[in-house]
Amino acid sequence: MNWLSISSNAFIFAFALYCASFIGYAIAVAGRRWSNRDVEAHTKRWSRIAFALAIIGWLGHLTFFLTRWKGGGHIPTSNMYEFMTFLGMAIMFAFIVVNLIYRNPLVGAFATPLVVIIIAYASVFPSEVQPLIPALNSYWLKIHVTTAASGEAFFAVGFAAALVQLLRVVDFSRKDKLGKREQFWVEAVLFVVIIIVGFLVSVFSFRAGGYSAEFQQEKFSIDQQGNEQSSIQKVTYGLPPIVAPYNSEKLSMTPYLGIDKPLFEAPHWMNGVNAGRKLNTVLWSVISGLILYGLIRLILRKPIAAVLHPYLDGIDPEDLDEISYRAIAIGFPVFTLGALIFAMIWAQIAWSRFWSWDPKEVWALITWLFYSAYLHLRLSRGWLGTRSAWLAVIGFIVVLFTLIGVNLVIAGLHSYAGV
């Protein structure tokens, strides 16, 4: 057995325990309503079990990380797979820290599924250990990436707590415009989460079925001298092509649902790296998310938020407000250090410019400015409670855009090797 295979076993172990921990927390929270035993004792017992599972899972995750480091020869944070699994590990760590302070099972019930989703998302990307390009071979980069992710992890926990807080305080009996609007937006956040789950479900089920389709795409670009250049690329799809890449020809495609050719071609202005495939993935995520959401609604016959809401009684929204704020307050200095200062030091050494307005950098700055606006707003009275919870939710969306969106939408200096 070599290091890398120990590593991948540890990964599966950690993933399974995280799922178990989530179930434990779900029982702790939901059981309050259907258990006829002593509610307090029930919650306490199951939150303990779930927390223990989370910690053991985290140790497994740490083993994964260290053995992969040993086996791969460099710290595993250099491609999207490695970075996202590391982020998952950091979120779990942040959750453990926050839970040790506040011991609130509700945060666990929302933080553990978040980690599960992030790790599953990581597994979408190729997991081979990849060689580094020289610019990435710097210990400052490693320090930068790990500290930045740790700061973001605390923001993630702040997000989880804020989401619980919103689910807790939104009044589902209200019928006025403002009440309706709140209900709508809370549901919308859950809907987005379900779309992400839909994305994961479709990627993994087609991958398990060995699906593939190939296209040959001809691309035109204008080089810096103003000459037109054309190049031919092969594009491989893991999901059935609803849209083909712009200006492409089908090479091979397994038929699905009796359809054997793409329905559309991507518009010409989508000319980024692999734009056609990305659009296709987005379409699949939305479709499967919609189906999933539809099924859930059929079963529940109510908005999901309205179903979750009653389980969250008995907890003070002020406590959740505090937990969310505290997680962000712990994360802010870490994020500043990791995502801005260490990044500047690394950039100064590697690229000779501590700041070059690269999109990834700009988005890290935006994240930072956003959270500093959040902190300033919390200094004034009207911004505690629900409003600040909304900011914590939006803040984490900004974090996710910085981490994933920028790589998907805008390719800059930072696009990780091999993604």
Binding site: V169, E318, P333, V362, G385
Partner: protein, 561 residues
């Protein structure tokens, strides 16, 4: 802005205009909030300059910049502006862009054209973006000045016995009848708090316990750090503080760093690629660089640095370093970074023989470097004098030899050979070291025409023979040379900012006040963060001294939703 009139408190203290809570006893003086809600405790309710009555123009500007609300707006607008700049690549990501408007139109379509013509392709240098940063800077300075002094005054002279209204309207409150004897209880309670590292001062049956006051300065230290950082960024605009040049060199080449008195030599350049077995399947067979390195020597020029009359500059070696990505050469604020490399085969030096075609004898070999070749060479009994060099040989429109560039793409050397059996003036030959057929043809043609003109007898030729007599440079290395004298200030600002953040976020200022009248305990506690923590701490201390209370029951917060 509210107008405050009566600022004299019932305790007799005369407060400045704008005071919210009496500086002495803490009694609320102004009510802009519901009567039962927790007090606004910022800056302990002391007056700030920005709360002056009848503001004049200067005051108004001051008030504008000292407002946190305005600061948040500035931050939010900056954030939105910054995000707009990431929609399309900025102009400066392209190295040579002759016609940006056309380029954006061709590459990104109409939206790209609009984007570029609105100046958004240079967002971060635009007047409005820089203006926003400057406004944030101004706001940082003014808001800190506005608050730090009042806060300092309020915290350095604190009264122990506070007004009832002050105590019962804190976020954390306990009111109850004491079963123990007040003085004895107060001292055992004080001991409990001391154990938790509170500084306790008591005044008969009133008490003030306080800890971590220093954390209140955290935000201000953070802001000072940010101000230094922003000033350092501005200072990068000072021309002499800033240099940004590129130097490209083949192996063995020495070049002057433009706009400086420094020269740099590429002693050796190496690049290593990943071996096939190190690469994952989809990358096998590709050349993926693992490492590239320029072994460089830096020289300082002491004389004839920019001489155009042909005098050689006088160089003094000052530093040597193997420059790699992530490992620049640094010398007195000058940094040389590995920027790029390019495969570009070029001759470094050859060791030709001088061949006498009449006797078939060859003399030498002699060393002929392509860069800075010496003026004379010895080959057997013969002496060769270099009379002309064309690093990149070509013919001008009148068919005269000339050099196309300064780069040794196709070097040609003109020698004058003197020695036994040759005339005093010697014979002139041209030599092309590169072994291409075309060059050899031109070489022969020129030598023949020199023979016709009587400059040589056609007796000599040059031959390199074995390959080990030729050394090639395979790559051209590109270095980026930078001077940035503002950098130390940038790091200092960032460091101070970090210290402030850590102080402000990982410690919390906590204060507990209490007074006892007729056995009735009134206790109020305040922290600028982490009310959960102070409640737990207080409940523990109360429980240990015989007052049973749950942490939750101390929570006096309302209206937070």
């Amino acid at each position: 802005m509210l107008q405050f009139q009566n600022t004299k408190c019932e305790c007799g203290h005369q407060n400045p205009t704008g005071t919210v809570l009496c500086e002495s006893c803490g009694k609320p003086l102004v009510e802009d909030l519901p009567l039962d809600s927790p007090l606004e405790m910022r800056y302990d309710g002391v007056a700030r300059r920005s709360q002056k009555a009848n503001p004049d123009l200067l005051d108004r500007v001051w008030n504008f910049f000292s407002s946190v609300k305005i600061a948040v707006w500035l931050i939010v607008i900056t954030l939105i502006g910054a995000s707009v700049g990431t929609i399309f690549p900025q102009e400066d990501t392209f190295i040579n862009l002759d016609d940006p408007a056309q380029y954006y139109k061709d590459t990104y379509g109409t939206w790209g054209y609009i984007y570029q013509s609105l100046g958004l392709a240079r967002t971060y240098e635009s007047w409005w973006f820089v203006g926003l940063l400057a406004m944030i800077g101004t706001s940082l300075v003014i808001c800190s000045l506005d608050r730090v002094l009042p806060l300092y005054r309020a915290l350095s002279k604190q009264q122990i016995r506070k007004h009832h209204a002050f105590l019962t309207r804190q976020q954390t409150v306990y009111i109850g009848q004491l079963e123990q004897e007040p003085a004895a209880w107060t001292s055992s309670f004080a001991n409990q708090l001391r154990r938790k590292r509170y500084r306790v001062t008591a005044e008969d049956t009133a008490l003030l316990a306080e800890k971590n006051r220093f954390s209140r300065w955290g935000p201000y230290i953070n802001h000072i750090g940010l101000i230094i950082f922003l000033l350092a960024v501005l200072a990068r605009g000072i021309p002499s503080w800033h240099l940004d040049e590129y130097v490209s060199m083949d192996e063995g080449q020495t070049k002057q760093i433009p706009n400086t008195n420094y020269f740099v030599k590429n002693d050796k350049f190496t690049v290593e690629f990943y071996k096939d077995e190190e690469l994952p399947p989809e990358l096998k067979g590709t050349n993926r660089a693992k490492l590239y390195r320029t072994e460089a020597t830096l020289y300082e020029c002491t004389a004839n640095c920019n001489d155009t009359t042909g005098k050689d500059p006088v160089l003094k070696e000052v530093a040597q370093h193997d420059i790699e990505v992530n490992s620049p050469l640094s010398y007195h604020g000058l940094d040389l970074y590995q920027y790029n490399y390019e495969p570009q085969a070029r001759l470094i030096s050859v060791r030709p023989m001088l061949v006498d075609s009449r006797t078939g004898k060859s003399y030498g070999p002699f060393d002929l470097p392509m860069n800075d070749p010496p003026l004379t060479y010895e080959a057997g009994p013969y002496t060769l004098k270099l009379s002309n060099v064309f690093p990149d040989f070509g013919l001008d429109d009148q068919n005269r030899p000339m050099t196309k560039t300064r780069d040794p793409n196709n070097p040609a050397f003109v020698f004058i050979v003197t020695g036994p059996g040759l005339s005093e003036d010697g014979e002139m030959y041209i030599y092309f070291p590169l072994p291409s057929g075309d060059d050899k043809t031109i070489q022969n043609q020129i030598n023949q025409s020199l023979q016709k003109a009587g400059s040589n007898s056609g007796r000599f030729t040059f031959e390199v023979g074995k390959m080990e007599n030729v050394s090639f440079s395979q790559y051209t290395t590109f270095l980026n040379v930078r001077v940035d004298r503002a950098m130390p200030f940038i790091w200092v600002g960032a460091g101070i900012s970090m210290i402030g953040l850590i102080m402000g976020f990982y410690w919390q200022h906590r204060r507990i006040w209490l007074r006892i009248e007729d056995g009735k305990l009134t206790l109020g506690a305040h922290t600028n963060k982490n009310t959960y923590g102070i409640r737990a701490e207080l409940a523990a201390a109360l429980n240990k001294t015989g007052v049973a209370v749950e942490p939750k029951a101390l929570d006096n917060r309302r209206n937070t939703r």
